[in-house]
């Protein structure tokens, strides 16, 4: 293999490209993005709806449905036995063994992520027995421990409950317990709090953070909520229209956002300490991903747009240590 992982890296994605071949045209959902995840780290993937966050993570386990196709790129992943594999190229059996076992997902909508016909315990048992040869009875005992871990009251009873007998927050906890059942190396949480009550949101985030530390796993958190990012993540990738535009440590991003999109995004988060007349928004709309503009994807909405932005695409450059951005403002002053 040409590339290899550096020390402490769990996942290293290079030039990932996903396209959807629809009747309307070819949608460039994800265009040549690169990122990496270190061991025991919380990485946030932030962006607007439809900018390719979910597609990116689905591509990692090759679950892109027709008419989508992974066109290019590599995703090196360090397995439990320290073997480094390219997730995009390994055989189907291997990737199936990794799914749910070493890379687990938490869904946006806990209501429908559980099969209404099976109990919470059955879901956990299924997840475990699919990857390891163990007795269902032993797993069920383990399931109770897991439910206790995700702070579900009286787990001995809940393990026998069907999804419709649980509340939304409880269901999301059950989904998290299911995803933890094989103690994965990498957990991908796809907007885990979007469908929940604000009060529950904080609890679920707290829980994810604690579990991540306890299980020493890496967490990719997909969200559009910068508040959540500040809460729990170590590093942030900002995505815009299928590209990563900025990468920074969370604190750096909040103190000194570089990319104009990030700056505008941060400005549109309402500040509870100030009295405001009108909520800020970014003028314009996300460009169509069918035939995206040739230059910088953000230039139609960018207040600092220049001629070069329209013509050429900026590449990622490291402006400060561990703070990279793709913008002409920092490339050629």
């Amino acid at each position: 293999m040409a590339e290899s992982l550096q020390d402490g890296q769990v996942l290293k994605v290079r030039d990932l490209e996903v396209k959807f071949y629809t009747y309307a045209g070819v949608v460039n959902a994800v265009s040549r993005i690169s990122f990496e995840v270190y061991e025991g780290e919380v990485v946030a993937l932030v962006g607007e709806t439809g900018c390719g966050k979910t597609v990116t993570t689905r591509a990692l386990t090759r679950l892109i449905e027709h008419p989508g196709r992974i066109e290019n790129g590599s995703a090196l992943f360090k397995r439990r036995n320290n073997e480094v594999v390219d997730l995009l190229k390994v055989p189907e059996e291997v990737i199936r063994d990794i799914r749910g076992n070493e890379i687990a997902y938490v869904f946006q909508d806990p209501t429908s992520a559980l099969d209404p016909l099976y109990t919470v315990g059955t879901h956990i048992v299924e997840t475990v027995t699919n990857h390891r040869k163990v007795k269902a009875k032993e797993v069920l005992r383990d399931a109770i421990r897991l439910l206790k871990e995700v702070v579900i009251p009286s787990p001995e009873l809940r393990v026998k409950n069907y999804p419709h007998e649980l509340s939304g927050g409880m269901r999301q906890r059950a989904v998290i317990a299911t995803s933890l059942s094989n103690s994965p190396k990498l957990l991908i949480a796809d907007e885990p709090t979007t469908n929940l009550d604000v009060t529950i949101q904080a609890q679920i985030l707290e829980l994810l953070k604690n579990l991540q530390a306890k299980y020493k796993m890496s967490l990719i958190l997909i969200t559009h909520n910068l508040g959540i990012v500040a809460e729990i993540s170590d590093r942030v990738y900002i995505m815009y229209a299928g590209k990563i535009v900025e990468e920074a440590l969370t604190t750096d991003l909040y103190y000194k956002p570089l990319h104009p999109y990030t700056q505008l995004l941060l400005r549109s988060v309402p500040n509870p300490l100030k009295r405001i007349e009108k909520l800020e928004s970014i003028p314009g709309v996300v460009p169509s991903l069918i035939n995206p503009p040739p230059g910088c994807r953000f230039y139609p909405r960018c207040p600092y747009a220049t001629d070069v932005c329209r013509r050429e695409e900026p590449s990622m450059i490291e402006v400060e240590p561990r703070h990279r951005v793709a913008c002409w403002l920092y490339l050629k002053r």
Binding site: R99, G100, N101, D109, D115, P116, E126, N161, V175
Partner: protein, 365 residues
């Protein structure tokens, strides 16, 4: 309503017995599945509330019982031609006690056989054929529908176009074509496999040396299975299309389950209730279809008492001498079909959680 109560209590007893057995087999089963058992009891209640469903259930129960023990109850062997001894028995009209005595209650057929006794054999044959057709045709259709709906793309296209061809072609004609081709081959096969022959004749309640007729029955059955699956394939595919978009299916994929397991464990159970309802309705249709095929002369011949064949034979002297035969066997077919249809209607309400709940709420819990 006392009937409602009696039926409900009987069903609850059955459920309780089942729970008891399961609990004996694996201790702790009842506590683990208490909510499921509760749901079953609610189903039993919803079912007992539907008078028509209860009527259908009773008819089906009686018909099934007759089909199982009928050949044992029949007091005259179907292969004995009484008319040889007593010419009076030739198409003897019904003989109802005060006015007439010494002859069978509902009359006889051309060989002097008591038509009631004869019909007991007919129940068995009809029942077994319809059961076999539905329980072999349905899984075939379900399997194809599952694969087509889930896989999509080219596989879907090929399977569904094949289904369309079968649906577009009139089922009866197709079945006639198949049923006229198969008998010789099946007959040769049965002659070679005596064990299978004896087993099948036992199931159909016939004599083992009747294998020529057995081959005819089997060919009807094979022909029906061949034309039976497309309906299921279509229904299942439609339901699968909506279920496979559910996030829990994606979750199952993300857990790393192989497609086979996803189909069997997550997709199939979620599309099962419309299939169950359709199967009950189809048991009625299959009974009539089998009778129609043998009415047209494609089924078994003398002396096998297949209901459709008996009616077609009685047509020779209709209505002067044979009205009682046509009426009696016609009514039997009607009652069988009616029973399954009524039961299916009630099952549709019971198996749909929404209507089930509405029944529960209307009754105030």
């Amino acid at each position: 309503m006392s009937i409602v109560k009696a039926v409900y209590e009987a069903l609850v007893k059955v459920i309780n017995f089942y729970v008891l057995v399961r609990d004996k087999l694996s201790p702790g089963w009842s506590t683990k599945n208490s909510s499921r058992v509760k749901e079953w009891k609610l189903m039993a209640y919803a079912f007992s509330k539907s008078k028509i469903g209860v009527l259908g259930g009773m008819i089906v129960f009686v018909v099934t019982l007759l089909a199982i023990i009928g050949p044992l109850l029949a007091w005259e062997p179907y292969w004995e031609y009484k008319v040889v001894e007593d010419p009076e028995l030739w198409y003897h009209p019904p003989c109802i006690p005060p006015w007439c005595s010494g002859y069978p209650l509902l009359g006889t057929d051309e060989w002097g056989r008591d038509i009631i006794s004869l019909s007991f054999y007919g129940f068995r044959i009809s029942f077994v054929i319809s059961l076999f057709v539905v329980f072999l045709g349905a899984p075939l259709g379900i399997l194809l529908g599952l694969v087509a709906g889930y896989k999509g793309g080219l596989i879907d296209e090929v399977i569904m176009r094949l289904t369309d061809i079968f649906i577009a072609f009139p089922g009866l004609i197709l079945a006639i074509a198949f049923a006229s081709v198969f008998p010789q081959r099946i007959r040769a096969f049965l002659e070679a496999n005596t064990l299978l022959r004896d087993f099948l004749s036992f199931i159909f309640g016939l004599r083992p040396n009747e294998y020529a007729q057995l081959a005819a029955i089997l060919s009807v059955w094979v022909a029906m299975v061949i034309v039976w699956w497309p309906g299921y394939a279509r229904i299942v595919r439609g339901s699968v299309l909506s279920v496979r978009e559910q996030p829990f299916i994606e979750a199952a994929k993300l857990v790393g389950l192989p497609t086979r397991k996803i189909l069997i464990k997550h997709v199939l159970p979620n599309v099962l209730s419309p299939i169950l309802v359709m199967m009950t309705f189809d048991l009625a249709t299959a009974t009539l279809f089998a009778a129609a095929l043998s009415f047209l002369g494609l089924g078994p011949q003398e002396p096998v008492p297949e209901l459709g064949y008996l009616i077609s034979k009685a047509g020779n002297f209709f209505p002067e001498r044979t009205a009682h035969i046509v009426l009696y066997y016609g009514t039997i077919l009607l009652v069988i079909a009616l029973g399954w249809n009524l039961l299916g209607d009630a099952l549709r309400d019971v198996l749909d959680p929404r209507t089930r709940r509405s029944i529960e709420f209307r009754e105030g819990g």
